[in-house]
């Protein structure tokens, strides 16, 4: 307790030097929490959007389907197993049929993924109902805002699409954009045309077939489905988490730089203290303070920087983080152009664990860098310290 009081008194007595260090440390503190919160928010939002627009309650894949290999699509179609079809009939799942094709908006050729989806589905949050309401002669097509921007297509635009049917025969027809959906998931937007499932089945001559079947959220994922593969929600999220993990490694470098800034400030300050306060250290020893307590005093002074930084960070960073967590920060660009799931407003998610963890990490690092120069004090002879010489 005595050391704590002395350390605090020394710290506050040092005035500007202390507050500069505390300010730098608090800046690092808040920035690390701020950035971590953004990544957390980004991750949670991405998971939520992926679940709502794509994954729902998991999926059943055709045995030949590999989303990373488009060449498998020629073979990746078939009639889903009976139990899966029963789920579809009960509204607990919906089949999706995929094929590769090309589109020719205003004479340009673009490769696309053509996806058939039941217009009346309510399993994923895509506005597919509009596909069922179309009464024109062309093939109704639903596209995302990103795709609209890339292909320069608006609602009502008619263009040619070409595909290859089950026999390998190329065919083509006119398609019309019936709606443009604003969806943050590029996985259901970029390079994709959404058609009514039955229309696509007719085009491909694949009646009753699907490439995969999406289960409704909360529906039981069946196990006995022949050679089709059940893919739980965790499978899809893990893929996404891997991507986020890869991206967050860049953030870790930033955290390391911020922590190094804070640590360097404290280390510099403590090293300076040794040289500027060596007579004081000698006096403490002459008055009967043992070396270990002198080390503890200086280490406590350093460690206390992080406590003061946490308090200061709370004063100026608390409202800032609260604002970001509740109001968010609007994205300056259309999120659909980024190619990753991104909310129009970035909302930070700041958990107690994250704040506590960051606090603990900064406190430990700052205390450690305080201990190193403090240990040097322990080696100082009292007579040398009193005369102002260091060994």
């Amino acid at each position: 307790m005595l050391l704590f009081k002395l350390a605090l008194k020394n710290l506050l007595g040092a005035g500007t030097r202390t507050w500069l260090n505390v300010a730098v440390t608090s800046f690092s503190f808040v920035l690390i929490i701020f950035m971590s919160g953004f990544y957390q928010g980004f991750l949670e939002y991405a998971q939520q959007v992926t679940l709502e627009t794509e994954v729902a309650g998991g999926a059943y894949w055709h045995p030949a389907y590999d989303p990373d290999d488009p060449f498998t699509l020629d073979e990746a179609h078939g009639v889903p197993p009976g139990p899966v079809n029963s789920q579809v009939a009960g509204g607990q799942a919906m089949p999706i049929l995929l094929t590769q094709g090309s589109m020719y908006p205003e004479g340009r050729m673009m490769p696309v993924m053509i996806k058939g989806i039941p217009p009346d589905q309510n399993i994923v949050s895509l506005p597919t109902a509009v596909l069922g309401e179309y009464t024109g002669a062309a093939i109704p097509v639903l596209i995302g805002a990103g795709m609209s921007h890339t292909a320069q297509l608006e609602v009502g635009d008619v263009f040619t699409i070409r595909w290859r049917d089950v026999h390998g025969t190329y065919d083509a027809d006119e398609a019309e954009v019936v709606s443009i959906m604003r969806v943050e998931n590029p996985g259901v937007d970029m390079g994709q045309l959404w058609l009514p499932l039955e229309t696509l089945r007719e085009m491909l001559e694949m009646p009753g077939e699907a490439t995969y079947v999406v289960a409704a959220s909360g529906a039981e994922l069946l196990a006995d489905i022949g050679d089709w593969q059940a893919k739980p929600v965790a499978f899809f999220l893990q893929q996404y988490l891997d991507v986020i993990e890869m991206k967050s490694s860049n953030a870790k470098v930033l955290y390391a730089v911020l922590l190094a800034m804070a640590a360097l400030g404290i280390f510099n300050s403590q090293v300076l203290s040794i040289f500027r306060r060596r007579k004081e250290i000698g006096t403490l020893m002459a008055l009967g303070m043992v070396r270990s307590r002198v080390v503890a005093l200086f280490t406590a002074e350093g460690g206390m920087h992080s406590v003061l930084a946490f308090v200061l960070g709370g004063i100026w960073g608390g409202p800032l983080l609260y604002f970001v967590a509740t109001m968010g920060i609007p994205m300056p660009y259309d999120p659909s152009e980024f190619g990753v799931i991104m909310a129009p407003r970035l909302i930070g998610v700041y958990g107690a664990g994250m704040i506590l963890g960051t606090t603990l990490l900064v406190a430990v690092i700052v205390t450690m860098v305080s201990y190193i120069p403090a240990r040097k004090i322990a080696k100082l002879k009292p007579t040398e310290a009193l005369t102002g010489r260091s060994n």
Binding site: L2, L6, K9, N10, L12, G13, A14, K279, E280, G282, T283, M285, A286, L287, G288, M289, V290, R291, K381, P382, T383, L386
Partner: protein, 239 residues
């Protein structure tokens, strides 16, 4: 150790390594300091005054010989035991005051009592008493930077005397003070010496200090050249 002795020094040698060899700061020093003495180590610069004070204070270790302070032989003692000796039994007064700059006068004087672990009430009583002895009761909340040199040294004296140690070691206590302040400081120290029976040992070459000493040990080139006992110090003759 003789009951009347507060310090016993036998055949003390202190060498400092210099280059490949060594410099002898003290050689064959043998002497005793008696309880209540007001002793000065006098000699030119480099004669070994401060070295001898540091060894008596447990701040430095002898190369040869034995030193016993307050019944504790210092040979072979670790830094914790020496720190305990200083904390409990010795007060220090430095030439440059060595006050802790961020502490107030009260806190500076209180510091040795905090190290002992004394209760707050008792601490306050002793600090008030020490500040009264040195005449600084009106400066308790001041910081060292707000005080004159003489006042700083009075705070340092209060800090040294507050725990009522048996021995006070003072290294050139008046070197940074003018004549008036020097006499003032010495009068305070003489008063404390007489009132508390505290033994004082000074390193000095200040003539003004010498006028107050009851014993003067002359050091030359690390040896005791003369040990002079004074029955009636100069300051008494002037009264």
């Amino acid at each position: 150790m003789d009951d009347n002795h507060i310090v016993e020094i036998r055949d003390l040698v202190k060498n400092y390594p210099v280059g490949g060899g060594h410099f002898t700061a003290l050689r064959d020093v043998t002497t005793d300091l008696v309880v209540g003495e007001f002793t000065g180590l006098v000699g030119p610069s480099g004669s070994g005054k401060t070295t001898l004070l540091n060894i008596i204070g447990g701040l430095d270790a002898p190369t040869e010989g034995s030193v016993t302070v307050l019944d504790m032989p210092l040979g072979g003692k670790n830094h914790k035991e020496l720190a305990h000796l200083r904390r409990e039994g010795i007060g220090f007064i430095f030439q440059t005051f060595n006050l802790l700059p961020v502490y107030t006068v009260f806190e500076n004087v209180e510091f040795p009592l905090l190290l002992i672990g004394m209760a707050a009430d008792e601490r306050k009583e002793l600090v008030d008493q020490a500040l009264e002895w040195v005449g600084l009761t009106d400066k308790v909340k001041s910081r060292p930077a707000q005080l004159s040199g003489g006042e700083c040294q009075r705070v340092a004296i209060a800090r040294a005397i507050v725990k009522k140690p048996k021995l006070i070691i003072a290294d050139e206590p008046t070197a940074n003070l003018d004549a008036k302040n020097s006499h003032n400081i010495m009068q305070i120290l003489v008063h404390l010496n007489q009132e508390l029976s505290t033994s004082f040992i000074f390193a000095t070459h200040d003539e003004k200090v010498m006028g107050y000493l009851t014993r003067i040990i002359h050091l030359i080139d690390g040896r005791i050249d003369e040990d002079e006992h004074i029955s009636e110090p100069e300051y008494r003759k002037g009264k």
